[in-house]
Subunit: 268 residues, 3 copies
């Protein structure tokens, strides 16, 4: 995968990979320059780490889930994350309040349907939320399979994205992103990402920050996954396990240069 | 203590220590191979660290406290943790929902009665929960003293465990575990454990993971405390304070080999 | 600023700086010796880090926000933190319960009015709380400006503190503390503090711990900011980014000696 242009297994690459790497590099720089504000309605386990990931990458987090305050916070936000982990009544009300403001202000939002394969109630909610127009859905294969009601592959992913007029970012050993018309694959990343809680949740929040500074949500999702994956590779090279991986990852999110993004991006 | 068989101060050692070290080593390996799912109803302070401890040791955490979702999560879990820290109405309902499922499915669960000595309401709840049959109670001396209504010592601990038909794991400078008939002492550990929040809470969650892969809850509790203590010793040897202790501890939970568990276990 | 006595820009320095450095050094030592108990009603993002900051500095945290339990916990606490981040109904009830006990027992408390500039509801609550007599208010310039309804400067800060009979600690590149009559400036700190979530929230909690061991709340606030700032400088000297800064900061809170506090304090 490393560097070569491939178009295998049904994953089309209508945008040339060199171009995405260049755009990812540029977007990482732009995110640091603009410091977008991202309001996160996310689960209790992920809150602190998500805030630190956003800060390390150059964005500004806010995290309140009080429905009465969410509208005030959203009016000064550049993007929104809706994450369904540790879902409770207050978070459900906060999501409702937030999507009301987002619909009025065309604020872009990212949906992270955590663990929808484990709870029917959560799956039902996720489907209703998808009908309300997230810019991007970021999920793993189990979650996306539950949402799609079928196996996730190179045909079903673009079909699902296209029919719901959204971008779907499927993360795993290789990340797949599609807006229905175009699809990209990002091979960056490290095995230790699966040994730390909230890595995916925090990446979804960062994807919202990228969406705030990118015109194209497909670019935003791809650039975010390159940034995250390159940082994870740098961290994995020095970490002695899942504990030391975390500070090294945050350091790398901050330290990685646009040139390094460009050189190390493995995209198809 | 290191290596010598002792039977002092009322702590009986009916199972020979070499045997427990060998079983601890084997159980650590089995836990990594089987990756048990542990659902945690735990306090807000401990949630992220607990998830990371479980992941580092090889288990799979889920953490929702929404009572409506808890049953769905429990049906795919191998063990349950009930931790009473930052107790609120939602968590109390979640505990009720979880124990309902646990009773039907004979899912083993561990009770961590955090701070029962500081709140009468919490003490009353803990006593009601103990009547519902936890596999293991993990507590410190202040908490256990409040539960027992008397001083904790080598006579009262086995008596309490036996009369409640449970295993009690009393953690401290030396950990004491009893099922009423047999008792063991684990001397592994490091002073920095007391300088980091949620170390005990996370150990209780890991104890639930060990319970899922062990036949005997006394073995589960003992093996968990050996794993935790050996990892803490490895972390303490390189940490420069309570901050660097945390990533080093998580690394060590992951890195420690079964042979190292066997060689370093200090059990009586 | 480093070492020289200055009195510029309206910041009076009625207490000589050498004296504050000496008192800061002494208070850091006293805090470690007395291990004050600090009950924290704080936001979800900050809870774990705040507990670890308190433990690293030598204090003992408790964090429950269940209104029914707060009074029991407060009766054994030496100081209270009220932080308005991620404010919800439960936290509002907990604050009410806590301030009821604090008023009866003259327990000192610190107010951290997080993000009051982002939410009118939160601003209104903060104003009502200030009328109930916090020992110290710890805020940044945006928050304090919202509370004061005017620009924060060397005249308005002491006036605000004096008229509300409290100590105000304004944190930023240079920290300013005033009780109305006397004002001090603390120049210690590091730029990475702004790249990690909850650094300010945790400093407010530590300020409550200092208040528990100091007679003068101005001394408590100043000593806390020196401790925090000197630790941040030590951490910043070795950190490779915002990730490795966190464990290094906690290590330094624990490791810094009273002599180092005395030598490195930059106070006017």
């Amino acid at each position: 995968v490393s560097g070569a242009f491939t178009c295998a297994a049904g994953w089309s690459a209508m945008k040339p990979p060199a171009s995405l790497a260049a755009r990812a590099s540029e977007l990482t720089e732009r995110l640091r320059a603009r410091s977008p504000r991202v309001h996160c309605i996310t689960n209790a386990v992920a809150e602190a780490f998500t805030a630190n990931v956003l800060l390390a990458a150059g964005a500004i987090p806010s995290m309140t889930i009080n429905p009465a305050e969410v509208p005030d916070f959203l009016r000064r936000a550049d993007a929104l994350l809706v994450n369904l982990g540790t879902l409770d009544e207050q978070r459900q009300s906060a999501i409702e309040a937030a999507l009301g403001v987002a619909a009025q202000t065309t604020l872009p939002w990212v949906l992270d349907p955590v663990f929808v394969e484990r709870s029917q109630q959560r799956l039902d909610l996720a489907k209703r939320l998808i009908a309300r127009g997230p810019a991007i859905i970021r999920a793993n294969a189990a979650e996306l399979g539950a949402l799609m009601g079928r196996e996730v592959n190179g045909d079903s992913l673009p079909a699902f994205a296209g029919s719901h007029r959204t971008v779907v970012a499927l993360t795993g050993a290789v990340d797949r992103v599609s807006d229905g018309a175009s699809s990209i694959a990002v091979s960056n990343g490290h095995a230790l990402m699966a040994r730390v809680t909230a890595m995916g949740c925090a990446a979804s929040a960062l994807m919202a920050a990228y969406r705030a500074v990118a015109n194209d949500p497909l670019d935003a999702a791809g650039a975010c996954l390159v940034h995250v994956g390159v940082a994870a590779e740098a961290a994995g090279a020095t970490a002695r396990g899942p504990g030391s991986f975390v500070p090294a990852y945050l350091d790398a999110l901050d330290n990685v240069t646009p040139d390094e993004i460009l050189a190390r991006a493995r995209v198809d």
